[in-house]
């Protein structure tokens, strides 16, 4: 078979341009597959090891204050293997140079030994020994440039204390370092975790012999829900806020969600590329076989059986698959390395390294093989079973029919070349359709990628301009009476203040329940509003709840149903409350009520958790300082900086995805157009040469050849826009989670950009083909039989 193999290699070399284009497409698909799935694999493995090695807990609960003796009760719950009580408090940090306060979460370390659960990995420095020494989490320390010996000033229970950082640590509890609340992104400059010896926290917060946070490890086969329920019962009298299972622990939830997205898109996106590659190979192979008909006939005449011929072409496809996969694996490994590093900046592990599971390139190869053969099997089988006699007969001249336009009687509008273009397109409608689809796919990929970005900006813009119209939000340590609102309003620089009451509550419907924040919204609110997906404000009904639609969905309720609301603070009332409406909001699972109605529910009058303020910009800095120092104030959030940091972070992360999007879309667009052009050139070389002989210029025959491609491309642009829209709609739901919903908002810019990029790529590849066309050797071409 050696001579036949040589033919194979020479054939491949002969179409190296097209082969390269196709291999690049396969490479793109494989690279994405390998990179994403390898990253997924590494993250999963690292996560599991981290959790196991540092004893990440299974159940988490917080309460107001419980005596240490309660730990014994908790340990006695059936199914509990280990209990770790601790003190966790969020405090205001006074950071020089940062005029808005930062929040530090103080987590107690046992006075002796390491934590039983949720252990801390010491990255640098030493464990804190004295009462005012702390470990800082790595993300925060890095963002703020803290090192061993740095000091940080914190407001502990109304008194300013200076804490010394003795080291930098990491814990599986804070892989994704986020405070909770409206911002789903880590804000490492303004939120840090500080591990402090328990003694220090006890004395600062009058918690001697008491705890306010507990973590549990479950035994094998124990029911988490059951344990959580028992835990809630025990902690209720100590002001328990509701136990959560590991699945809902913030850091874990975010990480898991990310991994899930990665696994979904890790397979779906490469399939798109492989689909395009399959299409291209189909066209190329069909063309090749049709030009080699007589060769096939000769080979069969000389006794090469059908399987031998079939195998020969199958090997050709195999070459594509192998080269594409090899390149893809290499690029994928490189990309995966970068991707893992990128993840490492957001999800902090003690060590996160990239390693390529050797099975992945094999799987990728199998996948691309399957795709490529799916596209070419028919052609290969056709070649294999081509009757030699038929192969030697000249092919019947291609069947041409009058085009649609001519049937409409409009042919006078068209020149002969134009008629040739149109007839050619109509002759092979399937190929034209598939080409349009493939080029459209390039547009679609760009539109899809940008649609995602458009959605994110829409959500952030709506957050900044429509939902959060306040400048500052003040939150109190404990709920305060109405007079606190007046007191805040009376501060210098406050133009307008609106109160809010915010409680933790469990909302229950039948057997389903969720822990959520219930927010009381004052009547006539102008600052922090509840808006629907069209950014129209939603007025609170006089009685009844307004729930996020996702929350409604999770609970299985619709407007009109009544739910059980168990408030986990203050008087802890449990009442049945009707659901007045569901709102399509973007961030979080929220429950809202009229402020006064909530007050009635809580049995309170005018008690508020905080206030939203509109502030005179000239006095803003002084106001922060004043508010920061007030003992009753737990935290002051400045909307502008929170939103800005969100924007910065997203921009950074999206930049990479944008670049890759463009590169991959260009590969597809270029590949498809170039391929089609070359094949069209091959098919019509003789015709075009004849036309040259007849006296048409190079420009005119270019028009005929490239005109067909131009029509395909131009038609493909709107088709691609529609495809992009359709893909965005289809995958839109996949991206929605309980934390954030992305509405479909594709900007015209996205469509335009997608079209522009594909137009540019098509133009470039057309010009490349045109060069070939210009150098057509007329005599040679005319000599050939076809």
């Amino acid at each position: 078979m050696r001579a036949l193999n040589r033919k194979l290699l020479r054939d491949l070399w002969h179409m190296k341009g097209q082969a390269l284009a196709i291999c690049l497409v396969i490479m793109s698909g494989v690279a994405l597959f390998v990179a994403q799935l390898a990253t997924l694999d590494r993250l999963k493995v690292t996560q599991q090891e981290y959790y196991a090695q540092y004893r990440f807990a299974d159940v988490f609960a917080a309460c107001k204050r419980a005596p240490e003796s309660v730990a014994g009760q908790i340990a006695a719950i059936e199914g509990v293997d280990a209990v770790q009580t601790r003190i966790v408090v969020d405090v205001t940090l006074d950071i020089p140079g940062l005029d808005e306060p930062a929040i530090g979460r103080l987590v107690s370390l046992p006075d002796h030994g390491r934590p039983v659960l949720n252990d801390v990995h010491l990255r640098a420095g030493r464990w804190p020994a004295a009462d005012d020494e702390v470990l800082a989490n790595e993300a925060f320390a890095a963002a703020r440039g803290y090192r061993e010996g740095s000091t940080i000033s914190a407001l502990l229970n109304g008194r300013k204390r200076v804490l010394t950082i003795t080291g930098v640590g990491l814990s599986p509890e804070f892989i994704y370092s986020i405070r909770g609340g409206a911002n789903p992104l880590p804000d490492d400059k303004r939120f840090g975790v500080l591990w402090m010896p328990r003694r220090g926290l006890e004395s600062a917060f009058d918690m001697e012999g008491a705890f306010n946070n507990v973590a549990l490890k479950l035994g094998r086969g124990a029911s988490g829900q059951e344990v959580a329920r028992r835990l809630d019962m025990i902690l209720e009298r100590h002001g328990g806020f509701g136990a959560t299972l590991r699945a809902n622990q913030l850091s874990h939830w975010f990480l898991n969600n990310e991994l899930e997205q990665l696994s979904r898109f890790g397979v779906v996106v490469p399939l798109v590329f492989l689909g395009v590659a399959a299409f291209l190979l189909n066209v190329v192979l069909n063309r090749l076989i049709s030009t080699q008909r007589e060769q096939i006939a000769a080979l069969k005449a000389f006794g090469y059986g059908n399987p031998a011929i079939g195998l020969h072409y199958a090997k050709l496809i195999l070459l594509f698959v192998v080269i594409g996969t090899a390149l893809g694996a290499a690029v994928g490994a490189y990309l995966g390395d970068a991707l893992v590093a990128l993840y490492g900046t957001v999800y902090r592990f003690p060590s996160l390294t990239f390693a390529l599971n050797p099975l992945l390139p094999l799987a990728a190869g199998a996948l691309s093989g399957a795709a490529c053969y799916a596209g070419t099997l028919k052609a290969v089988l056709a070649a294999a079973s081509l009757p030699p006699a038929e192969a030697m007969r000249p092919q019947a001249p291609p069947l041409y029919r009058p085009t649609v336009i001519e049937r409409l009687g409009l042919q006078r509008l068209l020149s002969q070349p134009a008629r040739m273009i149109l007839r050619n397109l109509e002759r092979r409608p399937y190929r034209a359709l598939l080409s349009i689809s493939a080029i459209g796919m390039a547009v679609a990929i760009l539109v899809w990628g940008f649609a995602f970005i458009d959605s994110i900006w829409y959500v952030i813009d709506s957050q900044e301009y429509d939902i959060q119209r306040e400048d500052i939000t003040v939150a109190f340590v404990e709920p305060r009476p109405q007079s606190a609102l007046h007191a805040v309003r009376a501060q210098q620089g406050v133009l307008h203040a609106e109160p809010f009451r915010s409680v933790a509550a469990r909302v229950r419907f039948e057997h389903r329940h969720r822990l959520t924040g219930l927010t009381g919204v004052p009547r006539g609110v102008t600052l922090s509003r509840v808006v629907d997906e069209n950014l129209r404000p939603v007025a609170m009904p006089a009685d009844g709840l307004v729930l996020s639609r996702w929350l409604g969905r999770a609970l299985g309720v619709k407007a009109g149903d009544s739910v059980q609301v168990e408030v986990l603070e203050a008087r802890r009332p449990a009442l049945s409350v009707p659901v007045a409406a569901l709102v399509d909001d973007f961030v979080g699972l929220n429950a809202y009520m009229d402020l006064d109605a909530l007050g009635r529910l809580m049995g309170e009058d005018g008690v508020i958790s905080g206030a939203h303020l509109r502030v005179d910009p000239a006095r803003q800095t002084q106001l922060y300082r004043a508010l920061k120092d007030m003992p009753a104030v737990a935290g002051v959030a400045v909307k502008a900086s929170t939103i800005q940091s969100m924007r910065d972070q997203i921009t950074q992360n999206l930049m990479y995805s944008v670049i890759f999007n463009i590169v991959f879309a260009c590969i597809i667009a270029f590949g498809v157009v170039y391929n089609n052009a070359r094949i069209a050139l091959g098919e019509s070389a003789r015709e075009l040469a004849s036309l040259r002989v007849l006296g048409l210029t190079r420009a005119e025959i270019s028009f005929i050849l490239l005109g067909e491609l131009a029509v395909l491309t131009v038609v493909a642009l709107p088709v691609g826009c529609v495809m992009g829209w359709a893909i965005s709609v289809a995958t839109g739901e996949l991206l929605n989670t309980e934390v954030i919903r992305l509405p479909l908002k594709i900007s015209d810019f996205s469509y335009a950009f997608g079209c522009a990029v594909v137009l540019a790529a098509s133009t470039v590849s057309a010009l490349v083909v045109r060069r070939r066309l210009d150098h057509l050797d007329l005599v040679e071409v005319l000599k050939s039989r076809e």
Partner: protein
């Protein structure tokens, strides 16, 4: 024809490029708008306050006594002079063993004293009898001038002295008798013969606001029993930051909100107290505050309002009627002054405006834009002068 076809081809190509380019052009920004209207603009100060009865009378127990159970209830009407409570004398203190022994001993001592006094009285009587006899004798002798006047004088003197001594002894005996009675009284432990009850009367007509002491039992002198006041005459007191109180003048109008009834009540500032006091605010900081007292406006009644009810007091510092006003969210400050974005012909136009009064929600527009003009609320960053916008 060739030219036509060429032009058509070029036109087609340009059309494609233009369509794509159009996609790049900035789109109108969706914005929230509001119209500049005329109306009332109020600048107000609000604080939490409470109602109180203007004249509150606390009725105290005038003496210590045993009070019968008060049948008065909060809300009862009383007239001036009505008996509110009756204070009966307290039963005597029961004696313990030592006291009893001491009292008994005192009684015996008093008896002894009485006996002693009796004896002394008898002695004095005897002395007197002798002195009289002596005097009569001496007087008789004087008539016969057997003795000197001097002796008679002396005898008269002695007689007088003896009379006095007898009187004194009688008095002493009486005193000892009384002391015996007193000593015996100390042994009395029951109230078999109580004294006169003291009535406590209502000083004014009005309603009972609070019954501070309801149950039967001993009361101390000065213990508050009942609060009476005229609920119809309510005033409202609220404490403001001294800095804010300085802006409040008597006779300023105010509204009472969130008092529990429908709508709000009108009130008038009567008095800004001249003296401030320190108070820890709800935010935990110490502040100087001043009490501001308000009356319900003439003609305003709220039968549902009682004493000690919480209300929100909104003092109207300034009120402009029929001024041009814009929502506060539309106005922002620039180095050239206050500005806003008006919407004209689908574009945002930046205008500098002169503003007057402002409260948290609205700003008075003095000049710079006319009534009915559409302005952009909370303009997003992307809005600039000349940018296309679409009202939502």
């Amino acid at each position: 024809m060739k030219w036509v076809k060429r032009i058509l081809a070029v036109a087609a190509a340009l059309a494609v490029v233009a369509t794509v380019a159009w996609g790049f052009m900035p789109r109108p920004v969706p914005v929230d708008t509001a119209a500049i209207g005329r109306g009332m603009l109020e600048v107000t100060l609000a604080e939490e306050g409470r109602t109180r009865v203007r004249d509150r009378f606390v009725v105290f127990a005038s003496v210590a006594g045993h009070m019968a159970r008060l049948s008065l209830r909060s809300g009862d009407a009383v007239a001036a002079g009505d008996t509110l409570a009756t204070l009966a004398p307290l039963p005597p203190q029961p004696l313990d063993a030592r006291a009893r022994a001491q009292a008994a001993a005192n009684v015996r001592a008093a008896e002894a004293d009485l006996n002693q006094a009796g004896q002394q009285a008898e002695a004095a009587a005897a002395e007197l009898a002798y002195a009289r006899q002596r005097l009569e004798d001496l007087r008789a002798l004087r008539r016969t001038e057997h003795v000197a006047q001097d002796a008679v004088n002396a005898a008269e003197t002695r007689h007088a002295v003896a009379e006095a001594a007898l009187r004194s002894a009688e008095f002493a005996r009486a005193a000892a008798n009384y002391r015996l009675e007193a000593a015996r009284a100390a042994l009395v432990e029951d109230n078999a013969a109580p004294g006169r009850a003291v009535t406590v009367r209502a000083p004014v007509s009005g309603r009972v606001l609070r019954v501070l002491r309801e149950s039967e039992g001993p009361v101390l002198a000065g213990e508050p029993l009942v609060e009476i006041g005229d609920v119809a005459a309510l005033e409202v007191v609220a404490d403001f930051l001294s800095r804010d109180a300085a802006r409040i003048q008597p006779r300023m109008k105010a509204r009472l909100e969130r008092w529990g009834g429908a709508g709000s009540l009108d009130a008038v500032v009567r008095l800004v107290e001249p003296s401030g006091f320190s108070k820890i605010s709800a935010l935990g900081v110490e502040e100087q505050r001043v009490n501001v007292v308000l009356d319900l406006a003439a003609g305003t009644t709220a039968a549902e309002l009682g004493d000690g009810f919480r209300v929100e007091v909104r003092v109207i510092l300034e009120q402009s009627v029929n001024v041009l006003k814009a929502p506060a969210g539309a106005v922002f400050s620039t180095p050239q002054g206050q500005a806003l974005f008006a919407v004209e012909d689908g574009r945002a136009v930046r205008k500098i405006v002169q503003t007057g009064r402002r409260n948290g929600l609205e700003v008075e527009i003095v000049s710079g834009i006319g009534e009915g003009a559409l302005v952009i609320l909370h303009p997003p960053d992307t809005v600039q002068d000349g940018r296309q916008v679409t009202p939502r």
